[in-house]
């Protein structure tokens, strides 16, 4: 067919079959994939502020545990998930507070404060974090996360329940 600007019958069939096939694959494929990943595309709403304790009940210098529960609607069900962390009052100053998340930055196990070790220990792969959340030992790639907090006039501490990266 060289020299002719007509396409051959064979090529025409090839191109149209390809085009129609591609169209059908798209019509079937896109809805299928969208259907499967649909829940993953939903945005997680930022939570409402959570009260986590009163200033006067919290000792100075040692991490004090707190926990809270968030109920979310997942699909056709409400699921309550509990989260937790530690409040560290570094000094008498009511603003000198660090609210750490207890979620290990390695693979998300929960760390515990260990008084004798003077550190947060992770039960999963033996990570060790300092009182202020820095990595002392083990596999975690970064310090513990924290929550932004506020202390009101009566001394109630509230946090925005979205974990922030350290730093």
């Amino acid at each position: 067919m060289s020299g002719s600007n007509h396409i051959s019958r064979r090529d025409f069939i090839k191109v149209t079959t390809g085009a129609i096939g591609g169209f059908i694959a798209g019509v079937l494929g896109i809805p299928s994939i969208a259907y499967m990943i649909s829940p993953a595309l939903r945005e997680d709403k930022a939570g409402k502020p959570m009260p986590i304790g009163k200033l006067e009940d919290i000792p100075i210098g040692t991490p004090h545990p707190f926990s809270f529960t968030i109920t979310k609607v997942n699909g056709w069900e409400r699921t309550a998930a509990s989260y937790g962390g530690f409040i560290l009052r570094k000094s008498e100053d009511p603003n000198d507070i660090l609210v750490l998340s207890s979620r290990c930055t390695h693979l998300s196990c929960r760390v515990n404060w260990n008084e004798t070790a003077g550190a947060f220990l992770c039960p999963c792969h033996d990570a060790k974090f300092s009182k202020e959340g820095e990595v002392l030992d083990g596999p975690p790639p970064e310090p513990l996360g924290h929550f932004t907090h506020e202390v009101d006039a009566e001394g109630y501490i509230t946090i925005i329940p979205v974990e922030q990266k350290a730093g």
Partner: protein, 223 residues
């Protein structure tokens, strides 16, 4: 001629899988002169595959529990992208499949294709029809709304009217004397595992027999 990589790959596979032979035996069969009524078997097969695919998709979200069945379907219809489409196809093709399988049977009857040597094809076909209806019956309960609940109440009650064994049949279908979570769960199991497995097996034999005997000729004036 220089063979392309693709051709090399194909002949490598063909040597081992016998693709060309399979093609000749499965698809390149002699067929009697075309008649649209002869396509209904393939249409049934297509609908079965369509139901299998959309059904598998539905199980990604559907929950067979009295607490959540209805809500999970609401979720599919309103929240999941294209959920309405997947469920819609499954819902409407279910009725269509019963109709198509039934008309396929009528055509086999009117063309007298059930005669020697195809009696077994016919008997297996009866199994296929019953299983298809069974799929419809078990699937109907799954949304667990009023209509589903009462349709199943009535359907199982009818099955229960069989003399002597009636009560036993009714309890086996419902998983007890009443419609309950057990009913929903066993209907679900039947709908997604038991009946489809039987259907696949019987369809396999049905198709094997069709390939073995070839398609019957359309009767003409002399028959």
């Amino acid at each position: 001629m220089r063979s392309t990589l693709w051709q090399k790959l194909f002949s490598w596979l063909d040597e081992r899988l016998g693709l060309n032979d399979a093609y000749k035996n499965l698809l390149d069969r002699p067929e009697p002169k075309g008649n649209w009524w002869n396509t209904l078997g393939s249409a049934s097969l297509f609908l079965f595959i369509l139901q299998a695919v959309t059904g598998i998709f539905l199980t990604v979200y559907y929950t067979p529990s009295p607490d959540h069945a209805y809500d999970s379907i609401q979720y599919i219809m309103t929240e999941v992208q294209f959920g309405w489409l997947v469920r819609g196809i499954h819902h409407w093709s279910a009725s269509l499949m019963v109709i198509v399988v039934f008309i396929h049977m009528l055509r086999v009857f009117f063309t007298a294709s059930y005669k020697y040597p195809r009696e077994l094809t016919w008997l297996i076909g009866i199994g296929l029809l019953l299983l298809t209806v069974g799929m419809g019956f078990t699937g109907y309960l799954l949304p667990w709304h009023q209509m589903a609940y009462w349709a199943t109440t009535v359907g199982t009650q009818i099955a229960g009217s069989v003399p002597f064994a009636g009560e036993f049949i009714l309890k086996s279908l419902r998983g007890g004397p009443d419609l309950s979570a057990l009913t929903l769960q066993r209907f679900f199991a039947a709908h997604i595992w038991i009946l489809p497995a039987l259907l696949v097996a019987l369809i396999g034999v049905h198709l094997y027999l069709i390939i073995r005997h070839g398609e019957s000729h359309f009767p003409d004036k002399e028959d």
